[in-house]
Amino acid sequence: MPESKNQVVVDIRDLSFQYPRGSVPAIRNINLQIKAGEYVVITGPTGSGKTTLAICLNGIIPNLVEGELIGEVIIAVDMNTKEHPVHELTSSIGMVFQNPEDQLFSLNVTDEVAFGVENMGYERQDIIQRVDAAIEKVGLVSRRDYSIFHLSGGQKQKVAIASNLAIAPQILILDAPTADLDPISSREVVGTLLDLRTKEPSKTFIVVDSDISDVISLADRIIVMNKGEIVLDGTPVDLLKNHFHELDDLGIRMPDHIRMMHWLNTAFPGQKEFFLEEKDVRHLMEKYTSSGKLIFTLPPEAVIPKPKEDPVVRFMNVSFKYKNGPTILEDVSFDIQHGEFLAIVGENGTGKSTLMKLMSGLLQPSKGIIETSGVDTSCALEEVLNNVGYLFQNPDNQLFMGTVAEEIAFGPRRQNCSEEEVNKRVDEALEMVGLQDACEQHPFTLSRGQRQRLAAATVLAAQPSLLLLDEPTTGQDQVALDNLMELTQGLIKNYAASVIMVTHDMDLVSRYATRMIVLDKSRILLDGSPLEIFGKKQDILARVCLAPPSMVSLTNNLGGKNECIPNFEWAISGAKIHNDVKTAV
């Protein structure tokens, strides 16, 4: 039965939970009530306890995950999660997990959507009705017979949402539903959630994410967690207007238009309204620029190193295809200079990861030549690997030694450094990533954030001339990402290394990259500075379904100027406020 609005559907009373090997509770003293039809975003930095809280709601804790639970969670008025197994709670509360790859059990869209309702033992006619309705709600009717392997990330996440909707729970939890998706897929999922909100107004949505950029427009309420506790709880406008710095300090990723809105509020004390929609912020900026109260100037473009005789990487007419597979890259040629920070962007399946594997020598080209630090990758692979550092999305793939110190020492030892040099590099790397106290610990006993820093340390200690970053934003909050980027900047500065990053995050590209390559249909479509591409080639980006950073849309043709500013930091560093305005900036 649909719950009436204002009825409490989630009631958490004095909830604390500690994992068996945890030294402190993952969550503590949580008291929270969520009403029917509310759209709640639970946010906080990595390790703040938000996912633990989410799995307490659907009974995974205490039914399937061990630990000490104090307090109570009451779902749908009268279901205490301690007294009901997970499958009994399923009809009241569903959950969509972060990575679509890790949660789909069946091979076909319809089978996956039917999986839950079949488990519940419904009659066939009921199953058909529920499955068909759920597929229709998420807009996957034309793909109902597809194999899940042939869907985009966004479509897979929609299948996961549909399989929960088919069970028709009153509450749906979504754990970082867009974190592992490319921008197009993220937009698809957010569009579906917006649509569902209209179609099912009495359903309660709880989104858990450290990045609120995608979901801010959906939220009625934001709950902020830190160190296992709720530290803030309010409407989006209230929190973003009055607690912006607290959110920022916690490492919560926010879209640039919200940062700009906050800056405008501070720069123009008379500005009382706080807008959440990008278009409203743009109108406000237009108001101030057209009245002459605010002038944005374009900072000078980053200096791109001049081509040298000995580039770090040289691709010469490179093509690649897997045996009996389609062509992944075709006739690709480019050089990468010392000290360059190159971002490689493009839709999924355009060959970005293949390009990285070719540079590191993990794959060999079908045609053409690749040289890394002057060495042909097909001839002297060991030498190539000595010069390349590769930071994977998942740090656990690349850690294998017995202690943190041994893990860091592995690279320098492989390079035949003296023991004295090895120890020096280990100490330096430990200090850079702040893991001095953990040097004798086993890598897998560290937290995920620490393991990510350790993986970075192993790369730094090897002092590579080429650092490859594979989707560095995945699973990172803003603070962790800023730290990683600081480390890479240090590598460029201290060792004249080049950094190559594959990413979907255009804000990250606009902030750090000095050059970007856009791949499309196995070839290089665009190659230039982010400022040039975001500013002047937006039509070409749109053709390959890539959206520029939000600051570009905000500043495009602002005040009649035929130019734009690609990121927030550039915008405010070049902004001039009229003398008449008394500003707090």
């Binding site: 039917a114 009659e123 690997l385 793939n397």
Partner: protein
């Protein structure tokens, strides 16, 4: 190693085996996997091998993505051959052997090798129909088919989970080996694989555990624990072709039983003192 998309690539093809009702397919494979165990004559075993080869080819199966299924089987075949070859036969048997090789307590004979070969061949032949059914069936339809044939739900679920998790382990292993390779740890040559295996184990175990844990929690939160399978979205309906296949299968089983036990053919005494 094959990724899940490659591992299951055969499932998406279309052939008469793919179109069979899962129940008929299960019955067919059960019969075809158990009947060869009644035969030991190399000529008959060759006949079974050819029959299964034809079936696999008619089902349009590409072996490469599912080679991993054969690897495990081939190791077992090798173990069987070694076992048969070095089995401690009584001295009176050894007088019939045309070739004897002794090294300390180990004695290998041509009779033992022949026995081992027959044992290994029967195992390999047993593996072929299993590959046929895994390569042409969606795991969930297979598990549902077993359940419709009376298998307890829990065992059907275990089967389903195993089929779903197997390619996941291979995928994780590939990713870990790639990451380790970039850091300078090789898994290319046999020697490197052996010496660096210890470095692969822990990350493989932890990553597989983490990924399968998420999958486990996701399916649990969709009522997996209820195990209330009664009816399914996709209907199980026998077609005319299914009935024809069933009848042909029954005739075939009867014919094989008659050949083996009625005519007493297809069995050659392996162990001849």
């Amino acid at each position: 190693m094959a990724s899940p998309i490659e591992f299951f690539s055969n499932v998406e093809k279309d052939s008469w085996v793919h179109r069979m009702d899962p129940r008929v397919k299960i019955l067919m494979v059960l019969c075809l996997a158990s009947l060869p165990l009644l035969f030991s004559d190399p000529l008959y075993l060759l006949g079974w091998f050819v029959l299964f080869l034809v079936l696999i080819m008619s089902a349009k199966i590409d072996i490469k993505p599912i080679m991993i299924l054969f690897y495990g089987g081939l190791v077992m075949v090798f173990v069987y051959i070694m076992y048969g070859t070095f089995l401690a036969y009584p001295e009176e048997t050894l007088v019939y052997a045309k070739f004897i090789w002794r090294w300390g307590p180990l004695v290998a004979t041509d009779i033992g090798f022949y026995n081992g070969l027959i044992l290994g061949s029967r195992l390999l032949i047993l593996l072929m129909p299993i590959v046929l059914i895994i390569a042409t069936s969606e795991p969930s339809m297979l598990a549902k088919g077993f359940m419709k044939l009376g298998m307890p739900i829990t065992i059907s679920f275990i089967l389903l989970a195993t089929l779903r998790f197997l390619p996941l382990v291979f995928e994780v292993a590939t990713r870990v080996m790639e990451a380790q390779r970039v850091r300078g740890l090789n898994h290319k040559t046999f020697k490197e694989r052996i010496s660096n295996f210890k470095f692969l184990l822990l990350p493989l175990f932890i990553n597989t555990l983490r990924q399968s844990r998420t999958l486990g929690l996701a399916v649990e939160s969709k009522g997996f624990g209820a195990r209330q399978w009664k009816e399914f979205y996709r209907d199980f309906a026998m077609t005319k072709t299914d009935w024809i296949i069933l009848v042909i299968l029954l005739i075939f089983v009867a014919a094989m039983l008659y050949i083996r036990f009625g005519l007493n053919l297809g069995w050659s005494a392996i162990y001849r003192p």
